[in-house]
Amino acid sequence: MDRQGQIDFILDHYENPRRKGALLDAGASAQGSNPGCGDLVTMYVKVDPQTGRADVTFDGTGCTISQASASYLVELASGKTLEDILAIDRDDLMGALGRDIVEQRAPCAALALDTLHAAAHELDRERACHEIRME
């Protein structure tokens, strides 16, 4: 994608956010912020106990890159297992959003991913505790 295509991609996610809104029966949620600029996101994760696949949504306010990143990420993560979600790394995210556009704004771009990982870790810990108890 060329630079303008990448900008349009980001603007589209910002103006038409995917899977935006609280997930009321989420197994875990986490809130992240960049106090310096006022970016705020909450990531909600629910895992289907049968399939092990996740349902992911977000809510938030802030700059284009922080919100577009969250919108892109919830689409990417939904349907994946917790392990696969935890394996998404910053570098892949930057590449998908357009490195030369977001690299100066890395904290904005990475906010949703760090927050999603915090929620996924919480679920992962709970699951581990549950398995220990079952044994």
Binding site: L11, E15, P35, C37, G38, C63, T64, I65, R105, C108
Partner: protein, 419 residues
């Protein structure tokens, strides 16, 4: 709208611009419009060359060697101190302490004076306009000593409400510390009046002049303040050097801030005797080249004349406020009267996030600041998390304001949904 040419009466701005090599470059294919001088100003050739020359021909440690180079380095460094003293009207260069920056200067007073003088129940009076660097050092020393921090409020335009000042000033008030100009809103405070009223109540005064000394004619004897703090890098000088002016009797009575070399007269294994002023407060090898650079910056600004600097910035801010107000959905913060406003234009563009505004402008070669500008409590007071800030200096031209306004229209067209 002002014609571009009418702004250039007091300062030969094109000649000034030619002194700043960094300004003649392109950024993202567009001529650079540097509108972030409140964060840090650019440097004229005179400053760059003074530091270059110092390193090429003169460098050695100061106040130590009995050899020629060290004596010459010491002379250059101490001459810079004399020029700074003259620039702000200090009685003696002994009243000029070199620090790293405004922040360190304020911390020096809060720690060295505060620890020796503040008691539980004492009050430190600040204002709601303050930069974090004139808030946090006082909050720290208040916690340590049991003193309490109080604030002079601002109104909706960011102007200090001084009606209640006499009620805030009591026998408990030990020091009043306030900005000469707000870094977020550009508000110029009535510094001499605040000092006079604080003195009448028996309190000391500290002026955070980080945005004052670079932009306004400043004379510490006319102001009557006890302490005044500012940074070199916001006034055409290098980073890494700042100034604390203090009245001599107060500095003499204060214990040292940092311990080490250069600040002592005699050391034994049991203790030490302090050096005389100003070196008592300058532990360790100082920023010598930066001191030389600051001396050159002071000469440069003196050459332009601080009255001319202020007159230019007054016209530029008047023009900027007028042009920004034309843009639909722009909200401008701070006083709208150029007489009480420095070259700082803070605004938001509809509901477009300030980072996004700054990113669109950057693509046009225009550098502005977006964020909370180290004034989070003031943003909260205005119900904001962040804002955009364009700030001006001696090299700012009306064409740059025009480009800023065009850039805002461009941002509006990219973010069509912005209301």
């Amino acid at each position: 709208m002002l014609a571009s040419s009418s702004i250039l009466r007091t300062l030969d701005v094109q000649a000034v611009r030619a002194d700043f090599p960094i300004l003649s470059q392109s950024v993202n294919g567009k001529p650079l419009a540097f509108l972030d001088s409140a964060a840090s100003s650019q440097k004229p050739l005179a400053v760059i060359e003074a530091m270059n020359e110092y390193y090429r021909t003169t460098h050695a440690n100061v106040h130590r060697g009995v050899y020629t180079l060290s004596e010459r380095a010491t002379e250059l460094y101490e001459n810079a101190r004399k020029r700074v003293a003259r620039f702000i009207g200090a009685k003696s260069s002994r009243e000029i302490i070199f620090t790293r920056n405004t922040t360190e200067s304020i911390n020096l007073v809060a720690q060295a004076w505060g620890r020796a003088n503040l008691r539980p129940g004492n009050e430190i009076l600040l204002t709601e306009l303050e930069h974090h660097s004139n808030l946090v050092p006082w909050q720290l020393i208040a916690r340590e000593t049991g003193a309490r921090v109080r604030y002079i409020p601002v109104d909706g335009q960011g102007v200090l409400q001084l009606d209640g000042l006499d009620a805030l000033l009591t026998e408990r008030t030990k020091i009043v510390a306030f900005a000469q100009m707000s870094n977020m809103l550009g508000t110029i405070t009535p510094a001499a009046e605040i000092v006079r009223r604080a003195k009448a109540a028996g309190a000391l005064t500290l002026i955070d002049a980080a945005q004052g000394v670079p932009h306004l004619p400043t004379n510490v004897q006319e102001l009557g303040c006890d302490f005044l703090a500012f940074s070199g890098h916001k006034m055409c000088g290098p980073t890494g050097i700042g100034v604390l002016y203090g009245r001599r009797e107060l500095l003499e009575a204060m214990p040292p801030f940092l311990g080490g070399g250069d600040m002592i007269r005699r050391v034994t294994f049991e203790g030490a005797e302090w050096n005389e002023l100003p070196w008592k407060f300058e532990a360790g090898t100082p920023a010598i080249a930066e001191g030389v650079g600051l001396g050159a910056a002071v000469d440069y600004l003196s050459g332009l004349g601080m009255d001319a600097v202020r007159a230019h910035e007054r016209e530029i801010i008047a023009y900027a406020l007028e042009r920004l107000a034309e843009v639909p959905t722009v909200a401008i913060y701070g006083p709208m009267a150029p007489d009480i406003r420095g070259g700082v234009a803070t605004f938001n563009l509809g509901d477009i996030h300030p980072h996004d505004v700054a990113a669109v402008l950057d693509a046009e070669g225009i550098a502005i600041r977006a964020g909370h500008h180290c004034a989070m409590p003031l943003h909260e007071k205005f119900g904001l998390t962040a804002s955009s800030r364009a700030s001006f200096y001696i090299y700012t031209i009306p064409e740059e304001i025009d480009r800023l306004v065009e850039g805002l229209y461009k941002a509006r067209s990219i973010y069509k949904k912005a209301k």
